[in-house]
Amino acid sequence: MPVVMDADRMERTLTRIGHEILERNRGVEELALVGIRTRGVPLARRLARILKDISHHDVPTGALDITLYRDDLMRHAVGGQPVVRRTEIPFSIDDRRILLVDDVLYTGRTIRAALDALIEFGRPRAIQLVVIVDRGHRELPIKADYVGKNLPTASSQSVQVRLTEIDGRDEVEIQG
């Protein structure tokens, strides 16, 4: 199966996104990163490190679990309930520009759930979306602000983003 992004490429992609974030927001003072569990969380931490390297400022970073906000819970078979993990947002999101980070943007339903979840923590000035891969096939009117790579795919395929922190290596692979 084709690997469409290796570790080196991923590092450069994240660095490029870091620069785009700074260019567009003119500084980091009001920014905060929120990663969507699972793989958005290490990605958000990496972006925080990159933003610090460039701007010498710490950007607060949190983790969001969207399980309890999913619109497909009622469709799951009994007994196969998705695991709920902790949401950790140890800062006020009021009046901040929030960078919501996820690995793959697909139907947009995860992001819809994440927006609902996030807004219950306060009233951010803005929410911007960062994804490593946009694979198309949106079912909701949602669009990313920063995209690592646009990947045209068939709905029968699946896109795997692997990260060292979780999977032992960095790569993006198309399967099927």
Binding site: D65, T67, L68, Y69, L73, M74, R75, H76, A77, V78, G79, G80, Q81, V83, V84, R85, R86, T87, E88, D116, A117, E120, F121, G122
Partner: protein, 306 residues
């Protein structure tokens, strides 16, 4: 998980850990400015309580509301039960209004099992007679794990009215399942025969049970369930089995003290111990909401059972 939560006896180790881990995530929701998630929106939960309860009923109700379920409380004092309706008839009538979950507390052991057989709704046991009180044991385990990071290998002393206590039964089942070293102690009249077969150490010496314990769990003297003379007097009970600060010194220096409430000050536990530094009694109450949210989510969060 199965359709209902009737007792710890039906749960595997893995299911218990799933509930405890899910409760960790639920706890955070209680720390938010908006303490509510939409997970059980459109689901109806009936709290059917045939026995008085403040803690458990309130805890279930808060858990249900934080998950956005619609809740209604039926207290028997104001219901048709007083007009002679049986438990099954009451439940069938409630079922006709299609609730998703019925949380039942009843004075008869096995009442929840009876309802589970006749009802489509999921049944959660909130205490049935002298049988089980599974969510209490789960919140106790959750509280212990928060302090000790594990349950396996801990010495847990359970002391008091072992005979009438559903809290004891559920806790013994859960703690032995997860590999804790469980000691039980109480007056011989209040030790159920055969309890040693559940894999616990039985002793009439409170000091022996408490020695080097990581956890002390005190049980309430349940005068409302006592028909006959089980203890000579409450004062004598306190002097022989009551938890005093003197006794606590025999336990490990980092011991934690649990009590399911409501506490009888000066009967099973001295006031200064109940309010003292080792007591986690109010944490238990706080954790109860998170654990009940976890149970409700795992049982009712998914699709309808066929």
């Amino acid at each position: 998980m199965t359709k209902d939560l009737l007792g710890i006896a039906d749960l595997s180790r893995e299911e218990i850990y799933t509930i405890l881990d899910t409760a960790e995530a639920m706890r955070e929701i209680g720390e938010r400015p908006i303490k509510k998630v939409p997970t059980l929106r459109g689901k109806t939960v009936v709290n059917l309580f045939y026995e008085p309860s403040t803690r458990t009923r309130t805890s279930f109700e808060i858990a249900e509301k934080r998950l956005s379920a619609d809740t209604l409380n039926i207290a028997v004092a104001t219901s048709s039960v007083l007009k002679g309706e049986t438990l099954v008839d009451t439940a069938m009538n409630l079922e006709a209004m299609a609730p998703d979950v019925i949380v039942l507390r009843h004075a008869s052991s096995g009442a929840c099992h009876l309802l589970a057989r006749v009802c489509r709704s999921r049944i959660i046991n909130a205490g049935d007679g002298m049988h089980e009180h599974p969510t209490q044991a789960l919140l106790d385990a959750f509280t212990i794990r928060q302090h000790k990071d594990r349950l396996e290998g801990l010495k847990v002393a359970i002391i008091g009215d072992l005979l009438h206590s559903r809290v004891q039964r559920s806790n013994v089942l859960l703690l032995t399942k997860l590999g804790a070293d469980v000691w039980v102690s109480g007056p011989p009249t209040l030790v159920p025969p055969g309890i040693d077969r559940l894999g616990v150490h039985v002793t009439t010496s409170v000091d022996g049970a408490i020695a080097d314990a990581d956890v002390i769990m005190m049980l309430r003297i349940q005068q409302e369930r006592m028909q006959g003379a089980f203890v000579p007097s409450l004062r004598e009970y306190f002097s022989v089995f009551g938890l005093t600060s003197e006794r606590v010194k025999r336990a490990r220096p980092d011991v934690i003290i649990l009590h399911p409430g409501p506490i009888n000050r000066g009967v099973e536990i001295a006031s200064d111990v109940a309010d003292g530094p080792y007591s986690v009694i109010l944490e238990q109450v706080a954790n109860g909401v998170a654990v009940r949210m976890a149970v409700l989510y795992l049982l009712a969060g998914g699709a309808e059972a066929d």
